[in-house]
């Protein structure tokens, strides 16, 4: 455990030095602030949920941006250190390979969590200061959104490690990461939509569709954030929200599996790898 902490600490220190933490936090804060204040223009101040609108727009942003940032920091973690020659030295120390993966994971997720909490928190804080009335339920939805965003980021950090532990060189890892991002964030949903159109509801029932959505962490995230009672009316997911019966617990389990399984596989494939 102590070894994991030491490695996580070094990872965080490196990211602070490389300005990764600063860049990510600023990017998320800037986008969140602009969405908060420009994004509320179309809805105006009618109705209760200024923060609900923020939750919807920030969730949509998260689905595109957080997986990309997570893959950017994680795809290099194993293969990059091997190529630079730092891994061989690290492995000559009394350190298990699973401890290296776990330590890096803790470090990277903490960086993402910091950036998300600060970046999005600034937006919510600004909204509160500007005097918008916010219901307690909206705050709850906002906190839930931040929590699941971090989990989504963690899932893609784990996927990035899996790519990194399998790839032969850094270039391949980067290319595969971009491909995975495209598939998970864009192609998967379009393919699903196409399937629904073609199928016309004959074999793909609502419950089948729901199961299919669990095959993609970004869709679990969508289900978790865009189908809430207050939120679905803004998000355009009201139709889907009505038909899905996925419980909060099922969504959480799905998300945790999307973190644990790639991380476990990454550890196994890294442990079998010869340097």
């Amino acid at each position: 455990m102590k070894t994991v902490t030491i490695i996580a600490g070094k990872e965080i220190l490196e990211s602070l030095r490389n300005r990764w933490v600063l860049a990510t936090t600023l990017l998320l804060a800037a986008l969140a602030l602009s969405l908060t204040f420009l994004g509320s223009a179309p809805t105006g101040n009618v109705g209760a949920g200024a923060l609900d609108v923020v939750v919807v727009s920030l969730s949509s942003l998260t689905i595109f941006l957080l997986p990309l940032i997570a893959l950017l920091i994680s795809h290099d973690a194993i293969v990059g250190e091997m190529e630079r020659g730092t891994m061989i030295l690290l492995l000559s120390y009394p350190v298990g390979r699973y401890q290296i993966v776990l330590g890096k994971f803790c470090g990277h997720v903490l960086i993402l969590a910091f950036a998300t909490v600060i970046g999005y928190g600034v937006a919510a804080g600004a909204l509160a200061i500007s005097g918008a009335a916010v219901l307690a339920a909206s705050w709850y939805a906002f906190a839930w959104m931040i929590g699941t965003s971090i989990m989504l980021g963690a899932a893609f950090v784990a996927i990035g490690y899996l790519i990194s532990s399998l790839a032969g060189d850094r270039g391949t890892a980067a290319g595969v990461s971009v491909g995975v991002w495209l598939i998970m964030v864009l192609v998967f949903d379009m393919a699903l939509l196409g399937l629904l159109v073609v199928d016309q509801g004959r074999t793909v029932s609502a419950s089948v569709l729901e199961r299919l959505l669990f095959l993609n962490p970004t869709d679990i995230y969508r289900l978790a954030n865009l189908t809430g009672f207050n939120v679905s009316q803004f998000s355009g997911m009201a139709g889907l929200a009505g038909s899905t019966g996925a419980s909060t617990l099922a969504l959480l389990v799905g998300m945790v599996l999307w973190i644990a399984v790639p991380l476990g596989l990454a550890t196994v494939s890294f442990a079998r790898r010869e340097l």
Binding site: K10, L13, G85, L91, Y93, P94, E274
Partner: protein
């Protein structure tokens, strides 16, 4: 004393390429051992096997009594390693890097500072490693290998990029560790540098161990001649003395005699020393370079 490193009939194949074939040797504690061989002779593969970074295809390896590839990390705390091309994260300072490695070996981070002073990086400790020259990175590499007084030191080309002054301190540190009972394995091309420093020599060629032993043993094995040259006084201006002339058959070239072994060398020296006209005697034994070349040639012709 039992061996700290024991290699028994180790094979290693990467696909169809045989990197090591049936390599066996034991290294005792308290000695400096030189591992010499061409590039691609299997030196680095051997070191990686001792570190447990790769698994042998056959045979058994014991480092401090443990199998290094079994995932037991405790032995590695007593092990120092310097890779051939040592690399560090450029964003951290020398002190941060070294205290990270010290913590991994469960040492106080403060030990890092003393070690930095010792390798002459005290002034540059708070600069980023990215700004270091190659020699400075090599020093940092040495510093991390020496952390925590290791019982086994595996050094892959340790002195490349070191200036002569630091090279001296480096060998001083090694001698100190050796006297404390550490096993030091140095893989190197700089054979002349290891001469007189290494007690034990392993000569590798194309994945096999061609010769092993102390320098004296290797000299005996090689049967390479010893060069004895004489400086003669004015009394022998015209002809060589009879004791020297008698050796003509066994390879005399002017005042230089090649003798095949130590006994005949001593016999010759005793006669020569008794002759008052001999002004000086110079004895040149085969160097590590000569021995290395000899064993490689012997192997080539045997094949």
């Amino acid at each position: 004393m039992t061996a700290t490193i024991s290699i028994q009939k180790v094979d290693k194949a990467y696909g169809k390429i045989h990197a090591l074939r049936e390599v066996s040797f034991d290294l005792p504690p308290g000695g400096i051992c030189a591992l010499v061989g061409h590039n691609g002779a299997g030196k680095t593969t051997l070191i990686k096997l001792m570190l447990g970074l790769i698994q042998p295809s056959g045979g058994a390896i014991r480092v401090l009594g443990e199998d290094p590839a079994a995932g037991e990390f405790s032995a590695r705390r007593q092990l120092g390693y310097l890779p051939e091309n040592v690399a560090f994260n450029a964003a951290l300072t020398g002190r941060e890097t070294l205290s990270f490695y010290a913590r991994l070996k469960q040492l106080k981070p403060a030990t890092a500072s003393t070690m930095l002073d010792r390798v002459g990086l005290g002034d540059a400790a708070d600069r980023r490693v990215g700004t270091y020259s190659k020699g400075m990175r090599q020093r940092l590499g040495l510093a991390q290998a020496l952390l925590g007084r290791p019982r086994i030191l595996l050094l892959d080309e340790p002195t490349t990029g070191l200036d002569p002054a630091l090279r001296q301190t480096f060998y001083d540190i090694l001698h100190e560790l050796r006297d404390g009972g550490a096993t030091v394995l140095i893989s190197s091309h700089a054979l002349s540098e290891l001469e007189g420093r290494a007690q034990h020599v392993l000569i590798m060629n194309r994945g096999t161990l061609v010769a092993e032993g102390t320098l004296a043993e290797l000299r005996r094995l090689s049967q390479l001649p010893i060069r004895v040259s004489f400086e003669l006084g004015p009394g022998y201006d015209d002809a060589a003395p009879t004791w020297l002339a008698n050796l003509a058959a066994s390879g005399t070239d002017g005042h230089v005699v090649l003798v095949p072994d130590d006994e005949r060398k001593m016999a010759l020296l005793q006669v020569a020393a008794a002759d008052p006209q001999v002004r000086n005697i110079e004895v040149v034994t085969p160097t590590l370079d000569d021995l290395y070349a000899h064993f490689l040639r012997a192997r080539e012709t045997a094949e």
